[in-house]
């Protein structure tokens, strides 16, 4: 353990985690609550990217519709609140149940297709959901809903408090990272990995790869739904725009910056994306240009994202030992 910690990647990741743990304290001392908001947002979206990384990085299923689950999770907070139901367990239950069901139903159909078709059919389902919410006048249609009160968890948690919300999200994130770590090294993960690289072979070995992929798709959707639940609570405002396909594209972007298929990649990717966004947009309104060029350069020249870079540094470090 100590050995892996002193590797470049170990150093970076452990520093990031320590920083995340103490951040609220430091920020409250500095009285810059804006940064706590930014960090909370990063953590929430990291959960979403972790879930995306599960299907893309390990399962080989490229979805261009993952923002749907952010929407489902957020509306699971918004709609009950609209009827003045503030019970957090109900909200969370709806987010989990709703996104699992959506993933199951669409997954059954999507997984009958492959490659480019899969990309487009996941997109199509998210568009359907998007237009569904656009057309429901009751819930604000295009304009969305304002959430006046965050989910209540009895006396257990008060997520109206920014620090509590932050730590709640952090705990869920760390748990999901640990789950991913266990999952990919367990039998289930090996089957996923195998079918990502050679689906036909896996079938001939006796695996019903369709079922394994479907279950993976549902796990991923559910986790992203939980991220959506936090996002709704965090922003206090939800709208169909959250499900726009360009947001699904951004999630993929974050994943690739961090390094597709690396457990901790999403942490680096999402943080880099959102910090860059914050920094660049403060110096120029044309920051999207830099983002676009960065993305193109990343794919053309920077294989493996930030995690790939760290692994290369690790190897150099190991040689020098």
């Amino acid at each position: 353990m100590i050995g892996t910690l002193s590797k470049p990647s170990g150093l970076v990741y452990s520093t990031v985690i320590v920083l995340l743990l103490i951040a609220p304290v430091v920020i409250s001392l500095m009285e810059h609550s804006f940064y706590l908001d930014l960090l909370t947002r990063i953590l929430i979206l990291t959960i979403a990217v972790v879930s995306l990384n599960l299907i893309v990085g390990y399962g080989g299923m490229i979805s261009l519709g993952h923002a749907a689950y952010l929407g489902i999770g957020a509306y699971s907070v918004g709609i009950p609140s609209y009827y003045e139901v503030f019970n957090g367990y109900i909200h969370l239950g709806l987010a989990i149940g709703g996104s699992a069901l959506f993933a199951l139903v669409t997954g059954i159909i999507c997984l009958r297709t492959r490659g480019l078709y899969f990309i487009l059919i996941t997109l199509a389902f998210t568009q359907m959901l998007y237009y569904t919410f656009v057309s429901i006048e009751e819930y604000g249609a295009d304009d969305g809903l304002v959430i006046y009160q965050r989910s209540e968890f009895g006396g257990l948690l008060d997520i109206e408090n920014a620090n509590t919300l932050y730590y709640a999200v952090l705990v869920v994130l760390l748990l999901s990272l640990y789950l991913m770590h266990r999952l990919i090294h367990a039998r289930y993960g090996k089957v996923l990995f195998g079918s990502k690289h050679n689906d036909e072979r896996m079938q001939s070995l006796g695996y019903n790869t369709y079922q394994y992929k479907l279950s993976c798709y549902v796990i991923s959707g559910t986790l992203c739904g939980i991220a959506g639940f936090f996002l709704g609570n965090f922003t206090n405002y939800i709208s169909p725009e959250m499900m726009d396909w360009t947001h699904s594209g951004e999630l993929i972007f974050m994943m690739v910056i961090g390094g597709t298929g690396a457990v901790l990649g999403p942490v680096l990717g999402t943080a880099t994306f959102l910090f860059l966004e914050e920094f660049l947009s403060s110096i120029t309104v044309y920051w999207h240009l830099i983002f676009g060029l960065l993305l193109i350069a990343l794919v053309m020249f920077g294989k493996g994202g930030l995690h790939g870079l760290l692994s290369r540094m690790d190897r150099r470090w190991e040689k020098s030992q």
Binding site: K190, H197, E200, L205, G206
Partner: protein
């Protein structure tokens, strides 16, 4: 009998890839299928393994009708194939590839927690299959980094790990050097008796040194079945296949 094929038909556009194929593979021993390029060998294997659905005909395997059974079920029933183009998981180690096969025989793999790398029993069983094909010393290398001949051996090891009743081998000697072929023939001779083998092969020497029974496939149809000598001396076969 192990496998019975009755009236198998498969058509692609105007081409009859399989025409009324009837075939019986007896238990034990090696049954070979030979035929010139384009005779429909690959299509036949694909239908036997379940990758393709036949247009007409029945398949019986080990006293069960498997015509409509899915690929993964057939594998579990004991009908296991290897691929003509080496089909392994390249970014995994040799051992991990075989472990995947062993894992498949042990019930479902919806196990999310225990790391596979610490599963001693799984490893041991996989090592057994690897030693059986003579790859024991390659276990920790990446599957993408071993030689072509060794990758073909790995294919066989993965198939063996499934404890097959019938091993469908799709041109196991394809693309091998003389020496590698000789090794593979030795390996298959060892397997003879352990399991029934249906061997689809191009290499005549291999077929005649291994097969107990040989069927000849020409233009999607089986024109003759018999012992090696019978096939060698069959006039029709000589005309269609060996003659030129």
């Amino acid at each position: 009998m192990m496998l019975e094929v009755k009236g198998l038909h498969k058509q692609f556009g105007g081409i009859h890839a399989s025409r009324d194929i009837n075939l019986v593979v007896e238990k034990h021993g090696v049954h070979a299928i030979i035929g010139p390029n384009g005779a429909g060998k690959t299509t036949l294997i694909a239908q036997l393994s379940g990758a393709l659905k036949p247009d007409a005909g029945r398949l019986r395997f080990d006293n069960t009708d498997i015509t409509h059974m899915s690929r993964h079920r057939r594998a579990h029933a004991g009908l296991v194939r290897s691929f003509q183009i080496t089909s392994i998981i390249l970014p995994m180690s040799v051992l991990e590839n075989v472990m995947l096969a062993v894992q498949s025989t042990e019930g479902h793999s919806y196990r999310f927690w225990a790391p596979v790398s610490q599963d001693a029993e799984l490893k041991e069983k996989a090592m057994q299959s690897l030693s059986e094909v003579g790859l024991g010393n390659r276990a920790d290398q990446m599957a993408g980094e071993i030689s072509h001949g060794e990758q073909r051996q790995l294919e066989i090891a993965m198939a063996l790990a499934l404890k097959p009743k019938l091993l469908l081998l799709d041109e196991p000697m394809a693309g091998m050097s003389k020496e590698e072929s000789a090794n593979m023939i030795e390996l298959l001779k060892q397997l003879k008796g352990e399991t029934t083998i249906l061997l689809v092969e191009h290499d005549m020497d291999a077929v005649f040194s291994l097969a107990d029974t040989t069927s000849v496939l020409v233009n999607g149809h089986i024109i003759a079945t018999g012992s090696t000598d019978e096939i060698r001396n069959n006039a029709e076969v000589q005309k269609a296949y060996l003659g030129d």
